[in-house]
Point group: C2
Chain length 217, copies 2
C-alpha cells in the first residue's frame, strides 16, 4: 500500500520532469542539475561559471534551498536572472518545483540554466527534475571515501567536480583512491579536480560544459 | 490523505523511539545521536572519543550508513562493540532501525552509546530515535552560512561541535558569524570548536559529554 503511493508519486514526478525537459528543449535551454553535500561549493561554482561565461552565453539560475535566499542574492548580484525555490523542509528539488520556477522565468532569454539542488548527497539523486546533465560537486575535506558511502549519487551524475583541491596539502585525501572509487561506480563519468577560489580546473569544467551544450569550448 | 499517512508513520516512529529510550534507561545506557553533513567528521569524533574515554567508561557504537561497513570496521578496531545499520538508500536513521540494532547489543555492558546517523543535514533532524542528547558535527570547510540554510538541524541539537578548526587559516570562515547564527536559532546550544586531528577542543567536548551523563568530567 505504502509502496504503491510512493510509485505513484515518483511516476507523477517523472511525467512532470519530462514536460519540463520538453519546455526547455522548445526554448533551446540547456539545464544542468548541480548536486552536492552542504558547503561543498555549489554556489561558488555557479558564481565562477557565470563570471567566466556570461559574455559568451546567456545564463539563468534556479536556487534550491530549504529556507533563506542567501544564495539567490549572491547570484543576483552577477546580473543574471535567478529564481529561489524554498522547499520548506524538503530535502531535494522535485519536478513540480522546477515546473513552477520555469513558469517564472523568461526562457527565450536563457541558453544555460544552472539549477542548484538542496545540499544533500542522498535524496536529490532519487528525483528527476527534467535536466539535461547532472553534476556532482564533491570536495576534498569530505574525504576520499564518499563514493563508497553514497554510491547512488556518484552513479547518477555525468561529471564529478572535486572542489577545494587547493586544500589538499592540508588533508589526508588520496586522489587516486577517490578517482578509482568513482570509476568503479560510474565508468563513463568525468572527474575534474577544481578550485573555485584558486581557479584550478575551472577551464576544464567550462570546456566539458560547453561540449555538452554542443558549443565550441 | 497523504498527510495522514505521514502522520501515522511519524507517530509510530515516536512510539518506538520512546520504547528505545525506556530500554536504554533500564540498562543505564546514555545514548547520543551524532548528526552531520557527509564528511564533517562524525566517525573521527567517535574514534577520538573512544580512545580518550574507553578506560573510564564502557562505550558501544551504532553506525548508520546507506551502504558499506567502512566506518564500523574502523570503530571495531578500537575494541568496542559496534553494530552497522545499512539503510539501503534511506537518508536517515529511524527508531525501528535503532530498535533492531539494540536487540543485537549487550546493553548491560555499555555506559555510553554513540549513534552515528546518515551523513545528511536535513532528514535525520526530523526523526526521533530514542537518544538522550543530539550532537551536530559541523565543519569549517562547509562555511559559516550553514545555520541559516539548515535551521531545523541547528535548532534540534544540544551541542554543535565545529570540527576542522585547524583548517580555519586556509578558509574564509567567520567564527563570530557562525556562532551568532547558531545562537539565533538555538539559544541554549553549546558551540565547541574542535579538531579531531589536532586535538583542539576535544577535552571540552568530553567534559560536556560527561556532565550530560551525570558524571564528573
Amino acid at each position: 500500500m505504502e509502496i504503491k503511493v510512493l510509485k505513484n508519486i515518483l511516476s507523477a514526478n517523472d511525467e512532470i520532469a519530462e514536460r519540463n525537459r520538453a519546455l526547455l528543449d522548445k526554448n533551446n535551454v540547456f539545464a544542468v542539475n548541480i548536486m552536492a553535500s552542504p558547503g561543498a561549493g555549489k554556489t561558488s561554482l555557479i558564481l565562477e561559471t557565470i563570471r567566466r561565461l556570461k559574455d559568451k552565453i546567456r545564463i539563468g539560475v534556479i536556487e534550491g534551498d530549504i529556507t533563506s535566499s542567501v544564495d539567490a542574492e549572491k547570484v543576483g548580484k552577477e546580473g543574471v536572472p535567478v529564481v529561489q525555490i524554498n522547499t520548506g523542509g524538503g530535502c531535494h528539488l522535485d519536478a513540480n518545483m522546477i515546473q513552477n520556477a520555469l513558469g517564472n522565468m523568461t526562457l527565450e532569454d536563457i541558453d544555460l540554466l544552472l539549477i542548484e539542488n538542496v545540499g544533500n548527497l542522498v535524496c536529490p539523486a532519487e528525483f528527476t527534475i527534467g535536466d539535461h546533465k547532472k553534476v556532482l560537486v564533491s570536495s576534498t575535506p569530505e574525504g576520499h571515501d564518499k563514493p563508497f558511502k553514497y554510491p547512488l549519487m556518484f552513479h547518477t551524475v555525468d561529471a564529478v567536480l572535486l572542489n577545494k583541491i587547493d586544500l589538499k596539502p592540508y588533508l589526508d585525501f588520496d586522489l587516486e583512491i577517490f578517482s578509482q572509487a568513482v570509476k568503479g561506480i560510474n565508468e563513463k563519468v568525468e572527474v575534474i579536480p577544481i578550485s573555485c577560489i584558486g581557479g584550478q580546473g575551472i577551464e576544464r569544467w567550462l570546456s566539458w560544459l560547453l561540449i555538452q551544450m554542443g558549443r565550441k569550448p
